[in-house]
């Protein structure tokens, strides 16, 4: 290879790491959905509506990016929904009840998530509890803890100045007043960019794929697979903490009863984005597209005044169709 090839080669691993066709397919579906809804209703393709779609993507998108890491290792995390809520609750305790400054609150949210991830990761990698079971247990434990800590009542962030700005404020709007992109969306892009970089460029990312590809071979290469796996769950947990910040900032409160169900939406976004549930394959770009498809669908159906119960049915069908398309693609390219 010569030096002239180095430049494109630098970007290539970020894009190549599996499922290119699926991403094209997912991206094409996204375009088709957007076009379809735009034709069906003049209210769909408006700046306000686009912004609200992006805003709606941000929480699910951040969760999905985090869980993508875990799914690539061949694992699963069912606790991310209630973990997100638990992080928001602990942040509320620190900010509202203890009166700590905003930045401490942000750090608390991320640290809480990381600790939760550490616990899940340890249960899975050291105690060898299957990920599905370990995180199912964590899901319930964290849900209960949130209710216990708050006494089942929401914690409001009225005393913390600027807390709602995290999600709903718009730094971008100061530059581009016509398109005031909410900060939550910027956070999503930032998180996605960093995780894509980690996956494509770093040792942690390489082991993430390697664990999903053949964990035993990695262990027999002298790699401390347990430690890396725990690190991956902790990282995903930290990202969950960021999602907790975003949702509580948008609601200006930590709602302890919220959260369950978010994990399934995030996993759906990951799968639509072409990441294989059996591990070893997946991309962050795909996950972003998957999260956008979910948000566009929900929003578009609402704009078209489709009843919510039918929205749920359509979403289910879309998930199945996406995975079926992936299966067909893989059968064709053995």
């Amino acid at each position: 290879m010569t030096g002239t090839e180095a430049q494109p080669a630098r970007l290539a691993p970020l894009l190549r790491a599996g499922g290119t066709h699926q991403k094209l397919l997912a991206f094409a579906s996204l375009i088709v959905l957007v076009l379809g809804f735009s034709l069906a209703s003049p209210r769909f393709f408006q700046v306000d509506n686009i912004l609200s779609i992006l805003q709606a993507t941000s929480v699910n998108g951040v969760l999905a990016v985090g869980v993508t890491l875990i799914i690539i290792t061949g694992g699963i995390d069912l606790s991310i929904g209630t973990m997100m809520t638990f992080c928001a609750v602990i942040t509320g305790v620190v900010l509202t009840w203890m009166g700590a400054p905003l930045l401490v609150g942000v750090a608390t949210a991320i640290a809480t998530g990381a600790v939760c991830g550490l616990v899940s990761g340890t249960l899975i990698a050291k105690a060898r509890i299957p990920p599905f079971i370990a995180t199912l247990g964590m899901m319930l434990v964290l849900k209960g803890l949130s209710l216990i800590v708050t006494g089942t009542r929401p914690i409001y962030f009225n005393d913390t100045e600027g807390y709602t700005e995290i999600s709903t404020g718009s730094l971008a709007g100061k530059v581009l007043p016509q398109f005031p992109l909410p900060n939550g969306v910027l956070v999503l892009f930032l998180v996605a960019g960093i995780v894509a970089w980690i996956l494509g460029r770093t040792v942690l990312g390489r082991y993430t794929f390697a664990l999903g590809s053949n964990e035993e071979a990695v262990r027999l290469s002298g790699v401390d697979t347990a430690a890396w796996k725990i690190a991956i769950y902790a990282l995903a947990g930290g990202i969950c903490g960021i999602a907790g910040l975003l949702i509580s900032s948008r609601l200006n409160s930590a709602q302890p009863a919220l959260g369950q169900g978010y994990e399934l939406e995030a996993i759906a976004a990951v799968v639509i984005g072409g990441t294989s549930l059996s591990g070893g394959r997946g991309t962050i770009l795909g996950t972003l597209i998957g999260a956008l498809i979910m948000a566009v669908l929900t929003n578009g159906l609402r704009v078209l005044s489709v009843a919510p119960e039918w929205q749920t049915v359509v979403t289910g069908i879309i998930i199945i169709t996406a995975v079926y398309a992936d299966q067909i693609r893989r059968r064709g390219s053995v």
Binding site: V203, L204, R206, F209, A217, L220, G222, V223, R281
Partner: protein
Amino acid sequence: MTDLVRMEGIEKRFPGVHALKSVDFDLRAGEVHALMGENGAGKSTLMKVLSGVYQPDGGRILIDGAEVALPGPRAAQDHGIGIIHQELALMRDLTVAQNIWIGREPRLSFGRIDEARQNAGATAILARMNLGIDPRTPVGGLTIARQQMVEIAKALSYRSRVLIMDEPTAALNDAEIAELFAIIAALRSEGVGIIYISHKMDEIRRISDRVTVMRDGARVDTVAAADTPVSRIISMMVGRELTEDRAAIPDLSGAETALELRHLWRGRELRDISFTLRRGEILGLAGLMGAGRTELARAIFGAEPCDRGEILVRGRPVAIRAPADAVRAGIGYLSEDRKQFGLAPGMDVRANVAMASLSRFASRIGTIDEAALGRVARGYIETLRIRTPGDRQQVRLLSGGNQQKVVIAKWLLRDCNVLIFDEPTRGIDVGAKAEIYRLLNELAAKGKAIIVISSELPEVLRLAHRIAVMCEGRLTGILPGGAAQEDIMALATKREGEAA
């Protein structure tokens, strides 16, 4: 008489590879037709075409003189073509009979399975093979050899007239091989045509009628097995004559001790094992299947740590509780099962080569220097002559011999001083075997300490400077290199409490 199977001008292309180049092949009823060739020569691809797994890009397949289409494995089965895979495809928790009739269970009303009829049918087939296996035994409780027999019984239950066997003896001992050959002889006399893929010359001469040799996706020739010398078959396979060079045994009396085991125990599998290994030495580890050789290797490497005993590396005791400890101490292990334990098949050559040494290519914040990594990987592709389109090729697409070289590259890059090779040439063809032998000798000459586990005595005799023999978890003796086969076998069968 028309041929049972006739394949004419079979073409198959994969992205970047012309896997089959207008290959002709035929099989008569009641013959054993050996198919030979180096790994990657196209044998398995050809057989996958015949068994309906792959669709050919050109050519035609005739069965009993009539052209047939084989769009899938089911169609091939319907035409009486059965295949016994190298990796057994049985469900361990189901019984022998359940495995044989899977997918075609005899039914009673309301979807109930007629277990009695199922067991009777299985018994009949097993009797035809002279096998006294109870059809109600769970398959997982049988030896590998017996499991293979069950696979054959399953193929026969489809009324197969063509049986494809892909290296059936790879995991069998001599007695089991004799049993298998008796079954093959019985089937042949019934008019079943058998396609036999193997790398073992003596087997080919013992049982086959004709031999077809393939090289680089093309058929070289088809010859009668009885009147073709082995050297001619080998030269057809590799395209050149092979010289049999025996490793000279170097004087290692002054060499530093690289590895020492003191009274290693683990459960009932390893009992009081002690030996030393010097730098530059190749120690052969011989023994029958189940003697505990792989278990010893895995204990030294920490994959299943020992319960008691000491391991010293360069004279210093090291605690090996996990593979990571062993690698840190400079010990590398090449498993007999590369796909399961050696490689991440979906990842590329570059990533696999780097698997044990990634930290060396990492910056402080954990980013990987891909450019340097690529250079190193391409260097190994060249020096080890790994046949691959490039360092970004997924290793699952490489042939067995080339996959083995990728694993070797992984440990060379890690710069291990003690290398344990567990069946390094299993499933590897003659030409690549010679290359692996040369590689092992070079590594020893450079001062690496090497343990070679092999079930093929000629291989041990050819490589080892000393031969350690195990039996039932104990080390029964250490012989000098080039010892007589009879002496090795005597130690390999020496039970506890017996005099030598």
